[in-house]
Amino acid sequence: MGEENKVVLHGMWISPYSKRVELALKFKGIPFEYVEEDLQNKSPQLLQYNPVHKKVPVLVHNGKPIAESIVILEYIDETWKNQPRFLPQDPYKRAKVRFWTSFVQQQLCESLLTVIKTDGEVQQKAFGNLFEKLEVLEEGIKEIFPDGNPCIGNYNIGLLDLVMLSMFSPNNKIQEEVFGMKIIDPEKTPLIFSWLTVLHQLPLVKESTPPDDKVVAIFKFVRENALKSSLA
């Protein structure tokens, strides 16, 4: 890898924001150096590269840092113009992708995080919110998958796919262990379920997915910490 195109990703193995950038680079076939950050002990480089948020992921391209996962994904697509293209060429289709990406990122992810970090009545309300929003997305993606069922052959992974798959999976086993119920229910949101199934079966995604027990452990850890700190 020549010095003219040096790419470094500062990330954290279980962060969905970091994961989507990692996958984006892999899908584009871009060689990169990966730096695993300990979020309890952030590296001086991370703090220097992302002084505003002090978070992962940060992409450093030829020494120039970029933060915010969706900003990074658009940058990658504009800089490395090979397939897969993460955004369509047509401005209207691009606007649709950006609209739904914003919806997933801001509304769905927010609801999911609240569900993970709370209990009792607050959690119940957050569940209600989350399922409501999943139904909105189910309806909304009908225009993206007009033929009904996304299929795995030659799937062109895009911005919305990367954002969605890094945050949600069709793995009901994990959901039932952590939440006591299905989050992505094949009966309630069949299109989202089959879409996520296709995405999570893509070889690059499969090989980047940590084993179930590790995922369950980290969810439980995040939840316990959040509940503890809300009592303090």
């Binding site: 120039k64 900003v71 606007a95 801001q106």
Partner: protein, 227 residues
């Protein structure tokens, strides 16, 4: 070629004004439809933005788009003159980063500072000031965030450039002051007085009156709540 360009907005909303500003910069003619968002949203608005049921909604040849910054990027990509974003991918990414920072951090912090009950206000104000300080650093000696001309970040920060100072006047607060944030304060003057912007801003008196009524209403509700 007759092109249909429509904006559904409300006179006081910084979000719908973002879209109008982008169109003015590009010199695109459009039809404006005023929505009564507190009373009676039009069936068209609900049809074109079923997900959020909010303004602004942009209609181009019958195709609707919602979310102000998504619309602004669409406008940028569709009408190529007077660019709002830099061409260089890295500079573009920086602009998007700061626009996001305004939308996701600054504006919520400012709402909170302006609407917190007395006992939470000090902390909310401190957080808002931190956001403004960070945003100010992005100016870096430039006239606008976009350089010599108004760009995406200036458009995104329009609330800070115009609405905030009027809100402060109505509320008697002084969040954005020349003493605390000299560069950002100067930018807000440049922004709201520059020719392409000032014609797309809501009238000062009307907005001031609106803020005063809103603040009085909030105070009354607080008093009633504590009775």
């Amino acid at each position: 070629m007759a092109e249909e360009v429509k904006v559904f907005g409300t006179w006081g909303s910084p979000f719908s004004r973002r879209v109008e500003l982008a169109l003015k910069i590009k010199g695109v003619k459009y039809e404006y439809i005023e929505e009564d968002v507190y009373g009676n949203k039009s069936p068209l608005l609900l049809k074109y933005n079923p997900v959020h049921k909010k303004v602004p909604v942009f209609l181009h040849n019958g195709k609707p788009i919602a979310e102000s910054l998504v619309i602004v990027e669409y406008i940028e990509e569709t009408w190529k003159g007077n660019p709002i974003l830099p061409e260089d991918p890295y500079e573009k990414a920086m602009a998007r980063f700061w626009a996001k920072f305004v939308d996701e951090k600054c504006l919520p912090a400012l709402w909170k500072a302006g609407s917190s009950p007395e006992n939470e206000r000090a902390k909310a104000v401190e957080e808002a000031c931190e956001c403004l300080k960070t945003l100010e650093s992005a100016l870096n000696g430039k006239r606008f965030f976009g350089g010599d001309t108004v760009g995406l970040v200036d458009i995104a920060a329009n609330f800070i450039g115009y609405w905030l100072r009027l809100f402060q006047e109505a509320a008697g607060h002084d969040l954005l002051s020349a003493e605390k944030f000299p560069a950002l304060f100067k930018w807000s003057d440049e922004f709201s007085s520059c020719s392409v912007v000032k014609d797309s801003l809501p009238p000062k008196d009307k907005l001031l009156a609106y803020f005063k009524a809103h603040i009085a209403g909030t105070k009354a509700a607080e008093t009633n709540a504590s009775n």
